[in-house]
């Protein structure tokens, strides 16, 4: 992780010196990060890959004006996040929840337990979708480990304290709702 960050810093400093940005280096450096950002919002690998590709197409289109970008990493994450949120309106991530939950279940478990585990994970994902939008966005973006609170705040356009508060509320609300659901069940 530290190597990735160091590379990104080097690239961002080089971008100021060069008139045009090395696109291949950008793809190699940031594609995995952008994929995770997009996947956290979409829960689909194919859709997340499309989002990453769209991000770099944007970079290609605006490569001449990218020298004015202060922090390339945060800028790319913000573009990827906004594209993923746009795509969420067209495709509903709930349709991918079943496959995603099954992929998370351990394969060595018996069938009945695996089914139960998959149901639990689907419930978590369902309750995640029912969270208020700001809280859900903070929680999904916090999944990406490379992003600190300050970067999350910059991507979401909020203050750091607000991000922390939203994250705490999101986790609390999600846990409470899941417990309520278990009690009913």
């Amino acid at each position: 992780m530290a190597s990735v960050e160091g590379c990104s810093l080097a690239l961002s400093s080089m971008a100021g010196a060069r008139s045009e940005i090395d696109l291949a280096a950008l793809v190699e450096t940031y594609s995995s990060l952008l994929f995770r950002v997009a996947h956290s919002a979409l829960r689909s690998r194919a859709e997340a890959e499309d989002v990453v590709q769209d991000v770099f197409v944007r970079v290609l289109e605006h490569r001449r004006s990218l020298t004015a970008v202060r922090d390339m990493r945060v800028w790319l994450v913000r573009v990827a996040w906004n594209l993923a949120i746009d795509r969420r309106r067209r495709i509903r991530p709930e349709q991918f929840d079943e496959g995603f939950a099954e992929s998370l279940v351990a394969r060595n478990l018996p069938a009945d337990e695996a089914l139960h585990e998959a149901q639990r994970l689907r419930a978590v994902l369902r309750e995640l979708e029912r969270l208020p939008r700001a809280e859900r966005n903070v929680l999904l973006l916090s999944v990406v480990e490379e992003l600190g609170t300050a970067e999350m705040a910059e991507v979401l356009g909020r203050s750091e304290s607000a991000v922390r508060a939203l994250l705490f509320r999101a986790r609390t609300r999600l846990r409470d709702r899941l417990e309520e659901g278990e009690c009913r069940g």
Partner: protein, 288 residues
């Protein structure tokens, strides 16, 4: 509580640890290279709007193409009846010019002849426009035929003297003003007649003014007397005022003269006194 927390962590870890499909970077780079090459190949596309060439907008491009095709079909559908209508136009013009029967070429005919190739020159037009032009041509042709017939009739008509024109009131007055050789003026040229006229005028003058001077009317004489009295009174009053003014001026001048004299006297007295005072002193000095 523990179960839910574990489930949340598991879901978040699953989201966090998801890896991209193998070869994602290569696919993205290939796609970007293709796009860059396509851009460099078609430089003219930079002049057109970007949304036409965006990869996510094939529907827009298709709709534009469909729109262009529909517009072409619409233009062709309008053009066919317009071309058909252009055919009978000269026939109508010939029919309209036929009843005149004059050997001279009429203006509408010439206009029709000149307008016919012009319409063909412009090629395809809209049906409504052609219809309105045909209507205008027919109207102008009918009007031209009527005016030509009247002009020909007038040209072939026999020439006659102008009928006597009745004079208006203004013309009569003008004639009176301008008219000379009056019988009275002609008669004045004769010296005998003129002398007789003069004598008559003199006698009449004498008759009128002589009577007024010799025998004034009683009313007129009283008025005249009254007027004369008033005038004489006014004159007297004026004279009195003038006299009074003269007297007052004379008094003023006398006063001034007397003042001047008294001043002179006083001055003389002062001089004398001064002289009287100075004389003994001078005598004393001479004595010393």
């Amino acid at each position: 509580m523990k179960n839910s927390e574990e489930a949340i962590e598991k879901v978040l870890a699953g989201l966090r640890d998801t890896e991209a499909l193998a070869g994602m970077e290569g696919r993205i780079l290939n796609e970007l290279e293709e796009r860059a090459a396509a851009r460099s190949r078609s430089g003219w596309r930079g002049l057109l709007p970007v949304w036409l060439f965006a990869p996510a907008r094939p529907v827009a491009v298709g709709s534009v193409a469909c729109g262009v095709a529909l517009a072409g079909i619409f233009v062709v559908a309008l053009a066919i009846p317009a071309i058909r209508r252009l055919g009978p136009a000269p026939v109508q013009a010939r029919r309209s010019s036929a009843p005149v029967g004059s050997p001279v070429l009429g203006a509408p005919e010439a206009a029709a002849k000149s307008s016919q190739p012009a319409s063909l020159r412009f090629g395809v037009r809209s049906a409504g426009k052609i219809k309105s032009e045909e209507g205008r041509n027919a109207e102008s042709a009918a009007a031209g035929v009527d005016s030509d017939a009247v002009a020909l009739e007038e040209m072939h008509a026999a020439s006659r003297p102008a009928p006597p024109m009745p004079l208006t009131e203004q013309e009569r007055l003008l004639l009176r003003l301008v008219h000379k050789d009056d019988p009275v003026e002609l008669a004045m040229l004769d010296s005998k007649m003129r002398a007789l006229q003069d004598s008559e005028d003199k006698a009449e003058f004498q008759r009128f003014f002589g009577q007024s001077t010799k025998q004034p009317a009683p009313e007129q004489s009283s008025k005249l007397r009254h007027d004369n009295r008033r005038r004489s009174k006014l004159r007297r009053a004026n004279r009195r005022r003038n006299r009074q003014r003269q007297r007052s001026q004379e008094r003023k001048s006398q006063i001034r003269n007397s003042q001047c004299r008294s001043n002179q006297r006083s001055n003389n007295q002062r001089r004398r006194r001064s002289l009287q005072i100075n004389q003994p002193r001078s005598k004393q000095h001479q004595g010393q």
